[in-house]
Amino acid sequence: MTETAGDEFQPFWDAAAAGELRFPFCRSCQKFHWYPMIRCPHCNTADISWRAIDPTGSLYSWTVVQRPFDAAFNDRTPYVVGLLEFPDAPGVRLITNLVDIETDAIEFGMAAAPAFDLYDTAESRLMFRPNVKPARSLE
């Protein structure tokens, strides 16, 4: 965890540790928002809950990073940063790393599911695995 992370971010990581994907959802206007905010930016009420969604996202875009901009990534390049959308959570896009896929096989709209098996609370990173293998049922 980063030292500057606010408490308002913690529910995301708690959910990830529990094998769930949750985003802030306004009970008043029934809309999601992301990133976490103090009040709902759509209606300005504070009636916000963290709603669990079907965690399979759709790939909006991606980039293969060849040159690190932070020494912490020196031994990770090349790595893939993906931006996912979720049918269950309109308006939310999530930055993640795509794992277990050849870069040439990445496609727009590709389904990707959280790699909860790789989630490490110490690192606070929830990576996603594109669904390139024969379809397996979602639990």
Binding site: T4, A5, Y35, W62, V65, Q66, R67, F69, R93
Partner: protein, 384 residues
């Protein structure tokens, strides 16, 4: 508001990646250069406007005024980085035309060639960025714009050759201008085979990194008559933004492939100037990346959405063609000083003193300043 002011002096340091001088020295060199260009004594300055984030925390207004021995009567700041620079004449006009100040300076400088955190230091402003982006290595502008470029290519059919033509065109302009940080020509083949940084963006898609500064001096059109050089009039200014925080703007904006604020800011500036887009003779816009040039050109309304790539590929952005863009080579090939050099270049063009890269018969020029989620536009006109 109808601005009744002019830019009467410009100054800039030589474009270099690393300077032995510190940032304050670089800024002062540019400010003195601009005052000398205007023929205005330092003590006559009585107002300052800069961006509100970068300059106040690195080269404070009070430091500059103390160095000039000048007493401030107006102290303004607006937006940050490039949008702030393009909009600083907006505040200067309000102050000068209200009689609050007579001579207002604007300046900007960076030492990102030398400073360790470089352009990425702004991440510290946003906890959500630190928490939900940085751990995934989504931590630098080429990566953000790489992500946008990939999606833009899908949405609008942009080809690598079209994107590369922006870098090639601007390199040609930089070589024509001379004196920039890069002196090597760039062909489309060079572009296509250059090392990638964040795919699909490669080295020639990204701005340079610079230690340097620029400055300009503004006063009333009346006072401008007595200055050393012909005045360049502030015809119109525009500022616009969207309600998306700087940490979310690369990913959460519903219209993520549209430059926030660019269209309304352009409309505001043109309406103030009483002109239309076809009256603009050249555009200097914030070219942090090749893709951002295309997006801004479209979103300012100079091209239809998705057509700016073809515009460049057909050579229509060249000096001597339809609408010359970044006539000095810009951040991609001249130097990267967040927009102040675009203002300086526009003034050179409108004075007719650009020499080897002069656009013929310039009457109006536009400057676009981009600082997500803000956008600033400055429309300048030649004297006479």
């Amino acid at each position: 508001m109808t601005p009744d002011i002019a830019i009467v002096g410009i100054g800039e340091t030589a474009p270099v990646r690393r300077s032995p001088k510190d940032l304050r020295s670089l800024v002062m060199e540019a400010v003195y250069d601009a005052l000398d260009d205007a023929g205005i004594a330092p003590g006559e300055v009585d107002g300052v406007v800069t961006d509100s984030v970068v300059m106040p925390t690195t080269v404070p207004h009070d430091y500059v005024m103390a160095q000039l021995g000048a007493t401030s009567r107006f102290d303004g700041s607006i937006s940050y980085g490039g949008a702030g620079i393009a909009c600083s004449p907006l505040q200067a006009a309000l102050a000068i035309n209200a009689g609050l100040a007579n001579v207002v300076i604007s300046y900007f400088g960076v030492d990102w060639g030398t400073r360790p955190s470089g352009p990425y230091g702004f991440h510290d402003l946003y906890p959500a960025k630190q928490t939900f982006e940085k751990p995934y290595g989504f931590n630098a502008q080429p990566i953000y714009f790489g992500l946008w470029t990939r999606r833009y290519m899908k949405e609008y059919g942009l080809t690598p050759e079209q994107l590369g033509s922006v870098a090639v065109q601007q390199r040609q302009h930089a070589l024509l201008r001379g004196g920039g940080q890069i002196s090597k020509p760039l062909t489309i083949e060079d572009y296509l085979t250059a090392p990638r940084i964040a795919e699909p963006l490669g080295v020639p898609d990204c701005c340079l990194i610079t230690d340097g500064a620029g400055a300009f001096v503004m006063t009333s059109n009346e006072r401008a008559r007595d200055c050393r050089k012909p005045p360049v009039h502030v015809a119109g200014t525009g500022f616009a933004s969207i309600p998306v925080s700087g940490d979310s703007v690369f990913t959460q904006d519903p219209n993520v492939l549209t430059t926030p604020g660019a269209h309304p800011a352009t409309e505001q500036a043109l309406a103030m100037a009483g002109i239309e887009r076809r009256d603009i003779d050249f555009v200097e816009l914030y070219d942090c990346f090749t893709i951002s040039v295309l997006m801004q050109l479209e979103d300012m309304g100079f091209c239809e959405k998705g057509e700016a790539g073809a515009f460049f590929e057909e050579g229509r952005a060249a000096i001597g063609s339809d609408l010359p863009i970044n006539t000095h080579g810009g951040f991609l090939s001249y130097s990267y000083r967040l927009g102040i050099e675009h203002v300086v270049e526009a003034v050179r063009q409108l004075r007719g003193e650009a020499g080897t890269n002069q656009v013929a018969n310039t009457r109006f020029g536009a400057v676009g300043g981009f600082s997500l989620p803000d956008y600033g536009v400055l429309v300048l006109s030649a004297d006479g």
